[in-house]
Symmetry: C2
Subunit: 335 residues, 2 copies
């Protein structure tokens, strides 16, 4: 099993109040760069920030890293539009950061990105690949493409109170700016991404399509953002088996997740890491609905063999300590 | 233990008859790109060539990969001047391919590369790092810097008959082109690299120096090229403990290796993978003195726990089959 992590950015994340991925807006574009360093090295090494919310909820990268330290799996990071440097090794597919979806074109070269990602995905020798994502603002762009495709699914949020009305308004403005209405991009997934998506979407979708074509089993590791990718693939006419693996935090807050997976003919795996058994701020924040998912968290949790989740919870504490987050949520500002 | 692999190129490799790293000169600049794909994915995925000599000797990347599949260790590839694209994830330190050392400047920005690599090395959280290399022509540039520094060590070769006289002539021409004589760069390692080195040298040396400074144990994984890096570090005034780990193939063919390590105050570990116990062309070619070392091979072999080398030899056969090399040395041209 190889875990592939496309990491990118979109200016959409800077719209006030839509993302919790990064405590301060000016640092948010460092979040994916920091996330992939946490995944590769165990903590940020060059990124000037540790992604932790004001209430002490660490980035899902911390959880995925903890699982990796327990289970061990290969991670390959793909640069899907990073805006800031990272010391993590990345596959270079020539992807640029995405534009605000309220402009004319969110991802002008969506088709070219998809093609290159497809070539990369089809080159992989692995029997099984799992594809995650890290892109602040990604649930809003997910709502964008789902709406453009005419898919009814709702989307989740990294905030405990999903600012869904605000997201809908942003998406409405975005569709207007592209002279589109909901459903106008049915069967035209690349047009949907170009107009109202983000650069991580054609990267994930392209890798998935290429890997499927070459005979790999593909699991999309994530919540509603991966529902959007699955929808993009189905609207591209790809009917190969697809799985989605996410966390209980997404599934519990998203009534129509199962229904969306059914409609898109995707197997759904939901893993509960049992964070309610620990009195540690990081895990309590997840139980309170913060962050919920991202950076392949739900997919990685699905790889934990039965009986070893307690070890994962121990390791989450270790990783949090390394990141300067104590059990009370105090963040000493490390790294 | 993290294995870091700076991978790069120098036009010096194109000088007739000095390198076996790639069967045909026009394909040689793909060799490091293919090597790092073999390390990451188990076989080349985008590189148009599998580095195998005309006699059927596979790149040392095949051996390092086999060890990795048995032992398991993290590999981080650093782009230290790749000339051709690779699908492997790489750390980007902004390093360009090196020039022919017979020109005015082999690595014009050696000092800047060293500084960036130092910053990267010092950022690593690992207690132990092992640093390898893949750069065709690297033993000639190693001879270049050793000569410029005034160090007496000889260098090894990827060819069974080391074209050492030719290398000396190339290095003499290179020093002439830079208005230097042997020893002129004593205590000026970056001047030596700039004049007659390659871009992988300041990358390896900088990472090593940075990692040492932050308290990591550093092992240089390689043969005479790593002796050259150790010399560069000692001439930079760095006197921290250093280890070199290489293969018996280098050590058996290089009488002054131990002496050089003594002089440079480096621990030397030599590992014999016992390839003479197998009637498989790939392993026979190593026993005949081809390839010998590279891509962290000797270092990775030093990580094999006692009693598991037979498993490594089995795995070398598996990797060779995957690369299209059969036990008789026939290469079906895959991928």
């Amino acid at each position: 099993m190889r875990v592939i992590l496309p990491a990118g950015t979109t200016e959409t994340a800077l719209i006030d109040g839509i993302s919790a991925a990064g405590a301060a807006p000016e640092l948010m574009e460092h979040t994916p760069s920091a996330d992939v360093e946490i995944l590769e090295y165990g903590r940020p090494t060059a990124a000037p920030v540790t992604p932790v919310s004001p209430t002490g909820c660490p980035t899902p990268a911390a959880i995925t890293r903890a699982v990796r330290e327990v289970v061990g799996f290969d991670v390959t990071v793909v640069d899907a539009g990073l805006a800031q440097p990272t010391n993590a090794p990345t596959v270079d597919l020539g992807v640029e950061p995405g534009n605000d979806i309220r402009g004319a074109e969110a991802v002008p070269d969506a088709a070219a990105i998809y093609d290159r990602a497809h070539g990369y995905g089809s080159s992989l020798p692995d029997d099984e690949v799992m594809i995650g994502e890290t892109v602040p603002g990604g649930t809003t762009t997910a709502l964008g493409v789902l709406t453009a495709l005419g898919e009814p699914a709702g989307v989740s949020s990294s905030l405990p109170d999903n600012p869904i009305e605000r997201k809908h308004r942003v998406v409405d403005d975005a569709l207007d700016a592209s002279d589109l209405e909901g459903g106008d991009c049915a069967d035209e997934p690349l047009a949907a991404i170009r107009a109202v998506g983000d650069p991580v979407q054609p990267t994930v979708a392209g890798i998935a399509a290429g890997a499927l074509e070459s005979g790999s089993d593909v699991t999309l590791a994530g919540g509603t953002q991966m529902v959007a990718v699955a929808a993009l693939l189905r609207h591209a006419g790809i009917d190969a088996p697809l799985s989605i693996a996410t966390t209980s935090f997404v599934a519990d807050g998203q009534d129509d997740l199962e229904e969306a997976c059914d409609r898109l003919n995707c197997d759904l795996t939901v893993t509960d890491p049992g964070f309610d058994r620990r009195a540690h701020c990081a895990m309590e924040r997840y139980c309170a609905g913060e962050a919920k998912e991202g950076v392949g968290m739900g997919g990685s949790l699905s790889l934990v063999p039965e009986g070893r989740m307690d070890e994962v919870r121990d390791r989450v504490e270790t990783v949090c300590t390394r990141l300067g987050i104590d059990e009370n949520g105090a963040n000493d500002g490390a790294p």
